[in-house]
Amino acid sequence: MKRKKLFDAAGIQRSLGRLALEVAERLHGCQDVVLIGIHRRGVPLARRVAKALEKAENIVLPVGALDINLYRDDFSSVGTAPVLRGTQVEFPIEGKTVILVDDVLFTGRTIRAALDALVDIGRPARVQLAVLVDRGHRELPIQADYVGLSLSTRREDHVELRLKEIDGEDSLILESPESGAGKRGKR
């Protein structure tokens, strides 16, 4: 395994700031907009986007958290049930613009599950997707509206975002198997 640090705390904060500005610009005024982070790392990211918007544009948005583990499509494969973090959306999403926030966009399956989870708690006017990293290799027709950073990766690579709130530090790490090692990535 080769581990390469692509971004440190400053780099992550910069791309989040940019992403927040893009949200403000595209949804001018952010009327009826809510942010919902996908557990786990989408949740602190959503809070950070909200903070950046408040600082830069003086816009205060409600932030919720979505647990998609009860909506996954890979339950039949062997393994243990993922730990539930719970859905906490304490505001109505009816008629709102919901911006889903996640850390890394890869196959798109998490987002598919998130869309299912979302429509079960209400009917938003529209749903958009913001991700810190888009690393390609989609398996479903899903794309992000706001992307902090586009990475070109190989399918077997492993992209790991570490966040202060959960991991004690901010960093973005790319792990690639040594070429020729022939070990196919789990993801």
């Binding site: 339950f75 039949s76 494969s77 049930a81 993922p82 539930l84 196959t107």
Partner: protein, 312 residues
């Protein structure tokens, strides 16, 4: 953290970490039940057979609601309407059901160890919904969930379980669970309803209800099966109530923030006064509500296996 066992047959074999995982998961399940749309697809396509050889309305309905909220398909099989009436054995029943490809059996049976008996004959997950006077693990877990909700934890908590100790499967599961989690358990009942050697389970035992109540944080009253009186275990219901019934007056001996629990159904005026059952210290209806969350958690943890790593 994960469950290390395939089945839930009893509390005795669970670790404190597994118990905490079940309760944490139940916490999250409560949100699903509070939604306008009370259903998630977690167990879509899984088949759960509710195999009830003894009458049980509340446990069976609670399981059925939990199964439905998780989108499992359910089959209800009850002794009164089944081939058991025609003399089929338990193992034969299971061998037949097995060919319908169930993923899980939820079983209530009058004989202790019924789950272990059918274990070799099925590939499905087994959940014990009460086996004789042995264990009733989901009841103990929903009791624990209620205690944790109201008291924040278990360590050092003074818990009194009172009533018909000898015939209760609830009490056995509760002793295992509460002592594993660090609570101090006292059992109280008429001498005719206290089996010997209980102290080997790490609990205190007494027949003096008034003294046992002193300073207790949790008082759990057990149901008195009315037919026991006919067997001469106590002289009359009135006398039972006089010595072992929980009244408002008696309850004053307990801690000022005491909670009163009962697995249901209550005999008002036998185990406790109506004023206590309906009073401010009673959490009996919270127990019912928590039963659904806890059973959803168990079904999810035992049947909801998937890839541990999220694929983004």
């Amino acid at each position: 953290m994960q469950m290390h066992q395939k089945d839930l047959v009893g509390i005795e074999s669970l670790s404190a970490q597994e118990i905490t995982l079940i309760l944490d998961t139940a916490d999250k399940m409560a949100e699903v039940s509070r939604r306008p749309l009370k259903k998630v697809p977690a167990l879509r396509g899984k088949m759960v057979v509710n195999l009830f050889f003894e009458n049980s309305t509340r446990t069976r309905s609670s399981f059925e609601i939990a199964e439905k909220r998780l989108s499992a398909d359910t089959l209800n099989f009850s002794a009164s309407t089944s081939s058991l009436q025609k003399g089929e054995s338990l193992v034969d029943t299971v061998l037949n059901l097995e060919r319908m490809q169930p993923d899980c059996y939820v079983m209530r049976h009058g004989s202790p160890g019924a789950c272990q008996l059918i274990r070799p004959f099925t590939k499905a997950v087994l959940i014990n919904a009460g086996d004789g006077a042995h264990e009733h693990p989901t009841q103990a877990l929903l009791d624990a969930h209620t205690i944790r909700q109201k008291k924040g934890g278990f360590r050092g908590l003074e818990v009194l379980i009172a009533g018909d100790i000898a015939h209760s499967r609830v009490v056995r599961s509760n002793i295992f669970l509460l002592t594993k989690m660090g609570a101090k358990v006292t059992l109280c009942g008429p001498a005719t309803m206290l089996p010997p050697h209980l102290d080997s389970l790490g609990v205190r035992v007494t027949s003096d209800f008034d003294r046992a109540l002193e300073g207790k944080d949790v008082v759990m009253m057990l149901r008195i099966q009315l037919e026991r009186q006919r067997k001469g275990l106590f002289p009359s219901l009135l006398e039972y109530y006089k010595y072992f019934g929980l009244t408002e007056e008696r309850l004053k001996r307990a801690d000022k923030d005491v909670i009163v629990m009962h697995p249901g159904p209550i005999n008002r005026g036998v185990e406790m006064a109506s004023e206590v059952a309906d009073g401010p210290y009673s959490v009996i209806l919270d127990q019912v509500e928590n039963g659904v969350s806890v059973r959803m958690a168990i079904l999810y943890l035992l049947l909801g296996g998937g890839d541990d790593e999220a694929s983004h």
